[in-house]
């Protein structure tokens, strides 16, 4: 029997390792392609720069929402005629696009989502405008479906769908969407303790609580409300509601009216929230 040289052994091991790696990669690539968005031609053209481009289109949409008036920036007064002319040419006022004119925002959001399909915020804002500005909840749902295809694991999309279904009175679908959102959240850890993630978690749990209550599933409702209270213990209206539900009494405000109140958000509210955050 001839003994193998160390070089042959090393060569055979390398070949085997390469074969194994090749097999694993062959299995992994189709699997990962199924769960991530195809970035398309923009990714080929701009690479990671497409995120900046997408953000630029998103900001342009914000400019259109404010009817072309940019956000105020701290500046010094130069007392020059250039500044006086500029101030007259581009007045600083707070105005919002409303109704049909809000449709002008959508092309920029469409460009933002096409440039970077992972820009979930752009999808959410587009869906919001389609529903509140144009009163087209079919279009909003279409946009959210497209968002989900590009970002299958993002909890914000089923959350927004849940809000949309509540506003349009499809409560069973809302419950399913919000349950999916909660499930997605459990797979996606929060980045910081006070992040939007936690706020959203409490919101999902509260919505689910009200939806279960409407369906007469008090135990599930109480469980959801208690989970929401575990995140924000100072929410007294939920605390009082849990007590009433546990005692088998009817709360004064119906779950439906509270859901409607909580999900009714206009463009002006969104803008005020944004300014509050800025401040």
């Amino acid at each position: 029997m001839t003994s193998l040289s160390p070089a042959s052994v090393a060569g055979a091991t390398l070949l085997l390792a390469w074969g194994l790696a090749f097999t694993v990669v062959c299995h992994l690539i189709p699997a990962s392609q199924g769960t991530t968005a195809d970035p398309g031609i923009t990714a080929l053209m701009f690479g990671e720069g497409r995120q900046a481009l997408s953000l630029n289109f998103f900001n342009e949409a914000d400019l259109y929402f404010h009817k072309g008036v940019a956000h105020l920036q701290p500046r010094i007064s130069t007392h020059s005629f250039f500044q006086r002319w500029q101030d007259t040419l581009t007045p600083e006022r707070h105005a919002h696009a409303e109704g049909v004119s809000s449709a002008e925002i959508l092309p920029w959001l469409k460009l933002a989502t096409q440039t970077d399909p992972r820009n979930v915020d752009a999808f959410l804002v587009a869906a919001f405008w389609a529903e509140t500005g144009l009163r087209r909840d079919d279009l909003a749902r279409e946009i959210l479906n497209e968002a989900q295809r590009s970002n299958p694991g993002d909890y914000r999309i089923p959350l927004e769908k849940g809000r949309l279904f509540i506003r349009t009175g499809r409560f069973t679908m809302a419950r399913d969407s919000l349950s999916s959102a909660l499930q997605f959240q459990s797979r996606q850890p929060a980045t910081t303790p006070d992040s939007q993630f936690t706020l959203d978690q409490a919101e999902i749990l509260s919505f689910l609580g009200f939806l279960y209550e409407m369906k007469g599933m008090r135990t599930d409702a109480i469980r959801c409300f208690n989970n929401a209270l575990a995140i924000f213990p100072k929410r007294t209206y939920i605390k009082e509601r849990v007590v009433l539900l546990e005692e088998g009494r009817e709360p004064p405000d119906t779950a439906r009216s509270l859901l409607e109140k909580l999900t009714r958000q206009t463009a002006h509210d969104a803008c005020h929230d944004e300014h509050d955050h800025d401040e």
């Binding site: 130069t78 040419l89 581009t90 007045p91 959508l106 469409k110 279009l139």
Partner: protein, 262 residues
């Protein structure tokens, strides 16, 4: 005056011969056709984005044309050797500069009107339009800005060769357009030498942003007072005079010899 007009006509003839205007018009039409074919979630009657990108296209193309035409006039005459019979006519150097500037500016101005007409047709096909008064004001101010760009291009070409003048003109006008409106905000966080240099740039470089009425046009803010338009056009006139004077100062004593240029 007759000589100035003759020189301007030569610039026009050259522009027609080079077919730059047609190429740029085709580019603009292609851009508009692309914009018109964009499907925005199946919605109709949305024209804001087409106006926005179209106006940006008009500004960019007119800027490219103005810089290219203005910076090549004088170096080209010197390079071809046609400068010598021209100066021997006799045509004074000031007349030469004014004729070249007038030809470049009026040629670019004509192109500008063609660009705006193409844009109007494009926006109209999409079902939109512009406020007529604001559009007239926007074109007037745009024309004023191009007068300054042409004068700057000619001034730079008196002391630099064509390529150097082209690059310098692009950098100067481009950075003036982008930087000037941001300087008051930048000054809010600066002190000392940085602040002084920013102030210097603010008062020395041309302010092209005051000629830009795109936002008023797109968002239908309506026209501005004609007095303000007059003031801004007067500023354009003064800046043009400054740059043409600099051009004349840089050119009047410049020596040419056939050996250098041929």
């Amino acid at each position: 005056m007759k000589r100035i007009l003759t020189l301007a006509t030569i610039v026009w003839l050259e522009m027609v011969r080079r077919k730059e205007l047609y190429v740029l018009l085709i580019l603009l039409a292609a851009l508009l056709a692309g914009l018109l074919s964009v499907d925005v979630f199946g919605l109709s009657g949305i024209t804001g984005y087409a106006k926005d990108v179209g106006l940006l296209g008009v500004w960019l193309l007119s800027w490219i044309l103005a810089v290219n035409i203005s910076v090549r006039q004088l170096p080209q005459e010197a390079q071809r050797g046609t400068l010598f019979p021209l100066l021997a006519m006799p045509v004074s150097r000031l007349t030469l500069i004014l004729g070249k500037w007038l030809g470049a500016w009026s040629g670019v101005g004509f192109a500008l009107i063609c660009f705006y007409l193409t844009l109007l047709v494009g926006v109209w096909l999409k079902g939109g339009g512009f406020d007529a008064n604001t559009l007239v004001q926007a074109i007037l101010l745009h024309g004023g800005a191009l007068a300054v760009v042409c004068a700057l291009g000619i001034a730079l070409s008196t002391r630099l060769n064509r390529d150097a003048a082209l690059v310098t003109a692009y950098i100067t006008t481009g950075s003036a357009f982008l930087l000037m409106p941001r300087i008051p905000a930048m000054l809010a966080g600066t002190r000392g030498l940085e602040s002084v240099s920013l102030f210097g740039a603010y008062y020395l470089l041309p302010h092209f942003e005051v000629f830009d009425l795109r936002r008023r046009l797109i968002h239908d803010w309506g026209r501005v007072g004609w007095l303000l338009i007059g003031e801004i056009l007067l500023y354009a006139f003064l800046m043009t005079v400054v740059f043409l004077t600099l051009a004349w100062l840089g050119y009047r004593k410049r020596r040419f010899s056939r050996g250098d240029v041929l």
